[in-house]
């Protein structure tokens, strides 16, 4: 049986296509190469989840970065002594599709095709940040990031990135600190730990358990919950039958919303409910309305912080997204650090900029920031409580006057 496939035709077709592809890609590559003397702008690349399951936060992060870039450009740009003038910043955003392999690919593209000078970090340690750090390490470009749990970041011993995030031990101690302030007759007796079965969830769970011992509490219920499962009645019923009076919960937005709804359907309420990751977004309140009252959330920042620019940024965010944020300030501050770092270094050389970031202290809308020699800078993880559609800061105690309220049963609200 003879196949009359014209191999020639197909090969030439394939060859031509391949050549075309190569031209397309190398065209993109060469277009961005600039000689030093003609350097007109600072190219900052970032890999963000523009699509995929994390895109909700990716959009917010992108807005924060773009706002910081716009603001610095309005002031004329960043002063780089090496060129003797202020250079404007250009932000190039690559999509990492909420996927770690694609994050590495996005950073490859940013470094090799867009020829960026340095990079701002993506979102969520396992998906965007660590792959980005690893890739930047390969090509010796500076990856300046946040949103990455510090212990796993430190394990890699990165020389070409830095991280600005909260300390997990401090973050997990927030609920215990809140409980310590409760009057004796309202102490928490039966706390429950419900953590998402994921990279972050497990990390948080481990620390919560460790600190429970230290503060003298014992979890009567300690369970992981699957990501994306839609029915939590099993856990809720268990908790109800055990008489749980406080819940620490870590999970995605939609899951937390579903959980609270199902709690109400099962007529189960707790005095103290504190959520991480899933309860802080405006959507949480929009979806639940008054049912979200009393629920606590974590955060990186608050627009009520007494630092310059915080309030204005919060208001601009509200203008744009019609909800309040407890995180954009941290991302804006990340950029502030980078601009100041470049100025202090006087050059765009990635190694020198990173060194300048490590050596200096910075003033940002998160307050004062100082990195240690490993490249880590810490900020305080805040605690807030939903009240009438707004996140009221309850922790750190020094920065707020609002007092946390314990939740009454559903029928009495």
């Amino acid at each position: 049986m003879k196949r009359r496939i014209s191999y020639k035709k197909v090969f030439w077709l394939g060859f031509v296509l391949l050549l075309a592809l190569c031209f397309g890609l190398s065209g993109a590559a060469h277009a961005k190469t600039e000689k030093k003397a003609d350097k007109k702008e600072i190219l900052i690349g970032t890999n963000l989840p523009l699509t995929g399951i994390l895109s909700m936060v990716g959009i917010e992060q992108r807005w924060a970065y773009e706002t910081a870039v716009a603001d610095i450009n309005k002031a004329g740009g960043v002063m780089v002594k090496e060129f003797g003038k202020k250079l404007p910043v250009k932000l190039i955003v690559g999509d990492d599709e909420s996927d770690p392999g694609k994050a590495a690919a996005a950073v490859e593209r940013l470094i090799k095709v867009n020829k960026v000078d340095m990079l701002l970090g993506g979102f969520a340690a396992p998906f965007g940040v660590i792959p980005g750090c690893i890739t930047a390490e390969k090509y010796k470009k500076y990856y300046h990031t946040s949103i990455c749990l510090i212990p796993p970041w430190l394990e890699h011993k990165f020389q070409w990135s830095t991280v600005f995030f909260f300390d997990l031990d401090q973050a997990c101690s927030v609920p215990y600190e809140m409980w310590a302030k409760l009057p004796a007759n309202q102490k928490i007796q039966k706390p429950a730990l419900i953590m998402e079965d994921s990279f972050d969830g497990r990390a948080f769970a481990g620390i919560f358990r460790k600190l429970a011992e230290k503060y003298g509490y014992k979890f009567v219920m300690d369970e992981p919950w699957a990501v994306g499962a839609k029915d939590y009645s099993a856990q809720i019923i268990k908790a109800k039958s055990l008489g749980v009076d406080a819940i620490l919960i870590f999970g995605a937005d939609a899951d937390c919303i579903t959980f609270v709804r199902q709690m109400k359907e099962n007529d189960f309420s707790v005095k103290y409910m504190h959520g991480w990751k899933g309860t802080w977004a405006g959507e949480f309140w929009q979806a639940l309305g008054k049912d979200a009252q009393y629920i606590l959330l974590d955060g990186f920042w608050s627009m009520d912080f007494p630092f310059p620019g915080a309030k204005e940024l919060g208001e601009r965010y509200y203008q744009k997204f019609k909800k309040y944020s407890v995180s954009v300030g941290a991302l804006y501050a990340l950029c502030q650090i980078l601009w100041q770092g470049i100025e202090k270094a006087g050059t765009l050389d990635p190694g020198k900029v990173r060194q300048a970031v490590l050596d200096n202290e910075f003033q940002t809308m998160m307050g004062k920031v100082k990195y240690d020699k490993n490249g880590v800078a810490i900020f305080v993880s805040t605690g807030s409580q939903w009240w009438d559609g707004k996140q009221m800061t309850v922790y750190p105690f020094e920065l707020t006057t609002y007092k946390m309220k314990l939740a009454p049963p559903w029928k009495e609200r």
Binding site: I5, V10, F15
Partner: protein, 330 residues
């Protein structure tokens, strides 16, 4: 089935291979994006050929490559962490391939014996998902949802990766080519065309199906291994992602299922199209990709290789999946 191969085909293959070998020697592997791009393309080629072997030649479409891909990556990571193998170790890669092939044999005996067509495809899909959950719950051995972190300081340059991936791709290509020219290949095609007729001619159907399945798994395992070495971080979400099951299918179908060069063409073209979309329209590139897939399936469902013939391929080509009696032959 032996086909008359024109001399020009050999020459073209040789030229292209030489070009790929020479390319990284002429450019800086750390600066040139194309080196990385071709590296990924070679991985896709190998994955696509693996799927093509099972689906295009043996006629069993599987949607479980991601299981073998992930397993291969984990085997490499675990053996490296335990100190039995090293960075970019051929032993580790062979082990990964072998481990994946072993799983394929075990699963194959269970699934291929009982399931046909769609059920088999669904079964492989389920297998992949189960494996993902197992590795997520695996405790300290597999690192759970965090996965396994490998020492990224071992990285020196992209060069070795490129050549290893090229070797794997060439290996799969040659393997499939030689297999198809052998009696085994003949048996496989006979099974694909009409399983009952093949069986009644004395072909041990199950044995050959498992062979093809295991070979495909071997390639997938090796790809998982080299990709794992590249990313330095093995975790269930990224490595057992369904992307790794669906992309090879897409590439093979685009290129031409059941052909030798189909997967190669499909891999390069699709990877290229997606890359360009990512570069120029990063916000909406998934929409573009989805649209592209739809258009390709509408206008070129037989793949690019069919462009060369006069519809002869289409005539020789029964449906790949399923053995229901209602299937129409043209």
């Amino acid at each position: 089935m032996k086909k008359p191969i024109q001399r020009s085909a050999y020459i073209l293959v040789a030229i292209v291979t030489l070009a790929f070998v020479a390319f990284p020697l002429l450019v800086d592997t750390e600066e040139s994006y194309l080196v990385y791009f071709f590296f990924m393309c070679f991985i896709y080629v190998a994955l696509a050929q693996g799927w093509n072997l099972v689906a295009g030649y043996a006629g069993q479409a599987s949607f479980g490559q991601h299981a073998f891909f992930g397993l291969g990556a984990y085997i490499t990571a675990i053996t490296w962490k335990a100190g039995w193998t090293d960075f970019l170790d051929p032993v580790a890669m062979t082990l990964s391939g072998a481990g994946a092939a072993l799983l394929a044999v075990v699963v194959g005996v269970a699934l291929l014996a009982k399931l046909r067509g769609d059920y088999f495809a669904l079964g492989t899909l389920g297998l992949g998902e189960i494996l993902r959950v197992v590795f997520t719950q695996g405790g300290t051995l597999t690192g759970g949802p965090v996965g396994l972190l490998l020492p990224s300081s071992s990285y020196q340059s992209l060069g070795p990766y490129y050549f290893i991936a090229l070797t794997i791709a060439l290996f799969t290509f040659l393997f499939v080519w030689l297999l198809m020219r052998s009696r085994v290949g003949l048996a496989l095609v006979a099974i694909r065309e009409d399983e009952q007729a093949a069986a009644s001619n004395g072909i041990h159907v199950l044995k050959f199906k498992i062979l093809a399945f295991a070979a495909g798994a071997f390639f997938s395992g090796m790809c998982g291994s080299i990709y794992g070495y590249f990313l330095f971080h093995i975790h269930p979400l990224g490595f057992f992602s369904l992307n790794w099951a669906l992309l090879p299918v897409l590439m093979t179908v685009l290129g031409g299922i059941g052909t030798l060069f189909g997967p190669v063409l499909g891999a390069f073209v699709l990877a290229g199209v997606f890359e360009l979309a990512n570069l120029y329209i990063p916000e909406i590139h998934p929409m573009f990709s989805g649209l592209f897939v739809i258009l390709v399936m509408l206008f070129l469902p037989q793949g690019m290789m069919s462009l060369g013939g006069k519809g002869v391929l289409a005539r020789l080509f029964p449906f790949i999946l399923g053995l229901s009696n209602q299937r129409e032959r043209r």
